[in-house]
């Protein structure tokens, strides 16, 4: 019976995701009818050859090169941020943990700010200098935090969290300092608010492999993460190689988060809150928490980004939307749960 539910819940979730992706693609500031959008999308399916007569070339570009990859990227970034948040919360046994807690976002912001302020201009694998600097900054900051926290070959979780916060604050201060002395201040500010504007297939293809592998690796840790919820010592006694697990999770999340941040900037809230929402629905077991966090995070991000690009004729950074709409919704869920006494 439970398995039956499980199967069908999954089917329903996949169906819902497809509906959200397609609906989001049909929405936008350019006026393209639902039917035309569907035609343009379906025409790309091999073996289907639709008649695109009468649809402007610009409409095809908008749907296929701008909106659709952007929606998919939002799904991917939202989903992976939520999974990183879920894994961190389990590993640190801390409900406040999010993908950025170890200073990864500040490191990325510093990298990007250096790229913006000093007007770096180089390309590598189709990524611009700012994205590459952000990625490098993210990885380096985590490496720094890890090595500061290391005692022998052990990394106590609390030390990790504290040094992560300290390094994060320190790097943020450098970012602020650079901003004060630069006339590119608004670009830096906008970068730190995150945006999917002007993202297309190339960015999607670059980050996809990292993220896909990362998701698989994190999912494979679901049992160990469950045991970690009992506390690190207990988990070690039960035969979990906690140090190895931490290394794995830290490295994978850093790479995923770094990849996400490098193409979209810093988008807060999703990684922190989505896992909690999903826990309310599925319970704390990571076997379900991780995949459902991915889906909910991804769909939430698509909805927020669709709002970000359609509310006004100007783009609103999506990071603003995630917190603006996500915050009240989450508080409502918390209140409701209190009442029902779950």
């Amino acid at each position: 019976m439970e398995q039956f539910l499980e199967k069908h819940l999954w089917k329903g979730t996949v169906l819902l995701s497809v509906v959200v992706v397609i609906t989001a693609t049909t929405l936008g500031v350019a006026d393209i009818s639902f039917l035309d959008t569907m035609k343009i999308l379906l025409d790309r399916v091999p073996m289907l050859d639709l008649d695109l007569e009468g649809i402007r070339n610009s409409s095809q570009t908008i749907v296929w090169s701008i909106r659709f990859p952007r929606v998919l990227l939002a799904l991917l970034v939202g989903g992976t941020l939520a999974i990183c948040g879920a894994s961190y919360q389990g590993m640190f046994k801390n409900p406040m943990a999010d993908p950025y807690i170890l200073g990864v976002s500040s490191g990325a912001a510093l990298g990007a700010t250096i790229g913006i302020v000093f007007r770096f201009s180089f390309q590598f694998l189709g990524l611009n200098s700012i994205a590459l600097m952000a990625f490098a900054g993210a990885i380096l900051s985590l490496f720094l935090v890890y090595n500061i926290s290391r005692v022998g070959n052990k990394v106590p979780v609390n030390t990790l969290l504290l040094s992560g916060i300290a390094i994060g604050q320190f790097l943020s201060a450098i970012v602020s300092l650079l901003m004060i002395f630069s006339d590119e201040i608004n670009r830096v500010v906008f970068w730190t608010m995150g945006s999917f504007n002007a993202k297309s297939w190339s960015q999607l293809f670059i980050v996809f492999p990292y993220m896909a592998i990362g998701v698989v690796i994190l999912y494979a840790q679901h049992r160990e993460l469950d045991i970690m919820l009992l506390g690190e010592d207990t988990a070690a006694q039960l035969g979990v190689d906690t140090e190895r697990l931490k290394k794995k999770v830290l490295l994978v999340t850093a790479i995923i988060t770094g990849a996400a941040v490098s193409v979209t900037g810093i988008i807060g809230f999703v990684g922190l809150i989505v896992p909690h929402v999903v826990r309310i629905l599925t319970g704390p077991k990571h076997k379900r928490l991780i995949p459902y966090s991915f889906v909910v995070g991804g769909l939430f991000m698509i909805i927020c980004d669709t709002l970000a690009r359609t509310l006004t004729s100007q783009e609103i950074p999506v990071g603003i939307i995630t917190s603006l709409f996500g915050g009240p919704f989450f508080i409502y869920l918390l209140k409701k749960r209190k009442k029902s006494g779950v």
Binding site: G28, V29, A30, D31, N57, S58, S59, T61, I62, S65, I66, R67, R119, F120, S121, F122, Q123, N128, S129, I180, D183, I185, R187, F190, N197, A198, S200, W201, S202, R309, T312, S313, Q314, E315
Partner: protein, 320 residues
């Protein structure tokens, strides 16, 4: 906005010169009608009262000898009308003309340093933005006058501001001469264009930030050159336009600010490869931070060059 009270303190032994100019300089044919005064026929006499763009009435007691400019645009204009030798303070971004390099920096235009300004003891501060209350109080106490000239939205407004600066600094003729140059350029460009088919233009100031309605760049593209600015209906003066809108409106000319690494501009986004400007090779790259970049975006004394820059970028076929 607080009205500046005329200081009733003792005027410290200031002789008020009644400078009588043989003031019959060539009046340029624009008169945006600031309070019905015609700047070029004005006899500069101190004390005088002027109204700045923020609506403040400022009384200038005597010829200002030491000026601080808190905006690159205003600094350029001061030098253009021959007041450069009186400028004792400038912002970090003031980079034109070259002589500004020797002038003391008083901070950035978003964040000028009040202490430095007070220390330089200027008679007059030109600013393009409002002055914080607490700084204004200090300036008032020190007898420093502040004239706010917000970034103009049209060429006519730029000329009015130039006249106002000339009037306050007793450089009426020089200011009128600067305006004549602007007018000459304006007329020449209009003549060169004749009756052109309006082209659709997108100005990308970086990251798809553009010049919307109410910006002076929009006014140049639309009013001076008769072209179509596809960012005109964005939100506010400097909207960020989404790629979707750019593709849909399909600009025929794409003028972009771009960082260049080794002379190579960053390539345009894949999704923009199909727009007419890219297909027909009508993308004009201007390196961020280059002199052309300043001409593109400054509403000051060089606006004649600005008009010409956009005209040549949009209608190159008319200028060969």
């Amino acid at each position: 906005m607080k009205k500046n009270m005329i200081k009733r303190g003792i005027l410290i032994g200031t002789l008020v010169f009644m400078m009588v100019m043989a003031g019959c300089s060539g009046s340029s044919d624009n008169n945006g009608g600031n309070d019905g005064e015609n700047g070029s026929e004005e006899l500069t006499a101190f004390p005088m009262t002027v109204t700045d763009t923020a609506g403040n009435e400022i009384t200038i007691e005597a010829m200002p000898e030491k000026i601080i400019s808190v905006s690159p645009t205003l600094t350029e204009t001061l030098f253009a009308i021959g007041a450069g030798d009186r400028v004792v303070g400038r912002t970090e971004y003031c980079n034109y003309p070259e002589e500004v390099a020797n002038i003391q920096v008083i901070g950035t235009f978003t964040n000028p340093n009040t202490e430095l300004i007070l220390d330089l003891e200027p008679d007059l501060v030109f600013s393009s933005g409002g002055v914080p209350e607490e700084a204004q109080a200090l300036f008032d106490a020190s007898g420093i006058k502040v004239i706010v000239l917000a970034d103009s939205q049209t060429v006519d407004q730029i000329e009015e501001n130039i006249l106002l600066m000339g009037k306050v600094l007793d450089l009426n003729e020089e200011a009128a001469a600067v305006n004549e140059e602007i007018e000459a350029e304006r007329t020449a460009v209009k003549a060169a264009l004749g009756d052109v088919e309006p082209k659709r233009v997108f100005v990308d100031l970086g990251y798809y930030y553009s010049a919307g309605a109410g910006s002076f760049i929009d006014s140049i593209i639309v009013e001076e050159l008769g072209a179509i600015n596809i960012a005109a209906d964005g939100e506010g003066e400097w909207p960020q336009i989404s790629e979707e809108v750019i593709v849909e409106k399909d600009p025929e000319v794409y003028i972009r600010n771009v960082t260049m690494g080794g002379g190579e501009a960053e390539p345009m986004a894949d999704s923009l490869q199909g727009i007419t400007a890219v297909v027909e090779n009508q993308v004009v790259n201007v390196e961020t931070g280059s002199p052309d970049n300043d001409i593109m975006t400054r509403a000051g004394a060089r606006v004649g060059q600005t008009i010409r820059f956009y005209a040549e970028a949009i209608y190159p076929e008319k200028f060969n």
